[in-house]
Symmetry: C2
Subunit: 318 residues, 2 copies
């Protein structure tokens, strides 16, 4: 039996998703990293600075390790912004406020476990492409609509990451002219993310909704301001999907993140409007993610096995 | 010595690019398929129907074979529109007017030579990525601006073709609202292709220019109508390149086709405007194609070797 064979029988992996508002921790069996056995959620507290966020990440990992009845053999961490996977460095995140943070080695030194640092959106793609809503597809896109918008791209069965720089569709120009926090005008995520729906509804009405769910509920209740910001988001998403269909021609687009929980309110009009926009291009299937808002933490748990395998090649287990 | 070794020493390959206005034929040594030794150009005569175009293609091939002092071992054909490479079928071309044409077997039966049927834009990409302006890049885009606009995408060192459906950036919506011949509104190629420059200049002035070169010359001479259609094309291309940079993050974008011959009139403002549009995204290098308007015929000659190798595995050479 190989060392990774031993790991697979007896141990667990941990996946961490560092979101703009919530740190999501997940523990799963090594053999079934896509089946979460234990969840932990804590506020990200990015207002307290990067050091406080790192401390909270380590605390979540400690608690998941302490609660496990089998040894935890590896950890995967999914970070937002720009991530250098090869070096294990979180290069930049506007939401968290860190820059050039060697997060992989910080976690490894604290826990003594091999760790993989990945990008949150691509980690979500690893989950949805591998065993989720795009399982079996060769060409697919994972598009989580959350605080921001990014995309993971599957081209010919492989994730296209361009050294961590690909997939920034949230900062493609859909023509609305409003300024994005990145400094450019017209960015998709400034009008179609869950964060944008909340902000734009508040700007119109003076009432700050609890989240995009509240905006969606108000659309259903006939609120014309909610309808206006919702329709703006749908227009922008349709345009973005038509670009994706024309240029990448994916078989399937998996829409994830908070907004995807709106179900038919989102998917119904989006499919109709996309159909009307395209002519000869391939129509992608539009589906909701299988892992909801846990795609990145599941993906991080799957990626933890990469760290375990890499470690088992250099040192004996356990 | 292997059979393909024999082929490589003693023989030639032919590459054919079936353009909307011109059929371009090229003959090269098997060992150096990217160095054209003999060229032949004939008008496409698409107004005479698909059968006449096929007859002309076969005549070009016959003439290139007849003029060769070494045996021609294989043929590559690059076709526009939608192409099923695996089956060797030209699925659809609006310019040529054919549909579901088994072009590969037609050429094979006529010539007795193994033939590869590919897509014109991706064939051009094969040339520019392999030994042209993007040589050595892992992530690149080839963007020929000709009668229409398409793109070949290199992701992680491989061409992403999505069963022949990827790269239709010419039919992505850049927001100008004019109707494209595909039936949609706002398509990039309806405002920024060489064909669009000619058509839009004629619509403004009543004078039909000889080609996009004439429009470019008029821009340099201070013609305000030429300047207006040129600036519209630049705006649209900047938007398209900003999408490409945000989503695919290529290291380099190779601009080819007739418009690329405009040099600084195109590349200067395009680089400046793209730089102004992007914030944190990777800036692709913008370069002119190394093969000018011969990228597709060179790529077809390179692809001919695939047909030769496939044939040498099933039957002895010669």
């Amino acid at each position: 039996m190989t060392t990774s064979g031993l790991a697979s029988e007896r141990s667990a992996v941990i996946g961490i998703d560092i979101g703009g508002t919530t740190i999501k921790g997940a523990r799963a069996r090594y053999r079934e990293p896509d089946t979460i056995e234990e969840r932990l959620r804590r506020p990200t507290r990015s207002d307290a600075g990067p050091a406080a966020v790192v401390a909270e990440i380590l605390a979540v990992i400690d608690d998941l390790i302490a609660g496990s009845d089998v040894p935890v053999c590896a950890i995967g961490v999914a970070a937002p912004g720009l991530v250098d996977e090869a070096r294990g460095v979180a290069l930049w995140s506007e939401n968290i406020g860190w820059q050039d943070l060697p997060l992989r080695s910080l976690v490894e030194r604290h826990t003594g476990r091999p760790t993989w640092l990945g990008h949150d959106v691509r980690a979500g793609g690893v989950a949805e492409f591998g065993s989720g809503a795009a399982q079996g597809a060769n060409d697919a896109v994972f598009l989580p609509l959350g605080t921001g918008i990014g995309a993971a791209l599957l081209t010919g069965g492989r994730i296209h990451d361009a050294q961590g720089l690909a997939g920034e569709i949230g900062h493609a120009d859909v023509g609305h002219g409003e300024t994005c926090r990145c400094g450019a005008q017209g960015c998709l995520e400034a009008i179609a993310s869950a964060g944008a729906l909340v902000r734009r509804y508040a700007a119109r009405t003076g009432h700050v909704p609890a989240g995009a769910e509240e905006v969606a509920a108000r659309v259903c209740a006939g609120d014309p301001d909610a309808r206006a910001v919702w329709d703006d988001a749908l227009d922008a998403l349709t345009l973005a999907l038509s670009w994706v269909a024309s240029v990448l021609a994916p078989e399937v687009v998996v829409v994830g993140g908070g907004l995807s929980l709106a179900g038919d309110l989102l998917f119904g009009p989006l499919a109709t409007m996309l159909e009307a926009r395209l002519t000869f291009q391939r129509r992608p299937r539009l589906v909701a993610g299988a892992y909801g808002d846990e795609a990145a933490s599941v993906g991080a748990a799957i990626l933890a096995r990469k760290a375990a395998r890499a470690a088992s090649e250099t040192e004996p287990w356990p």
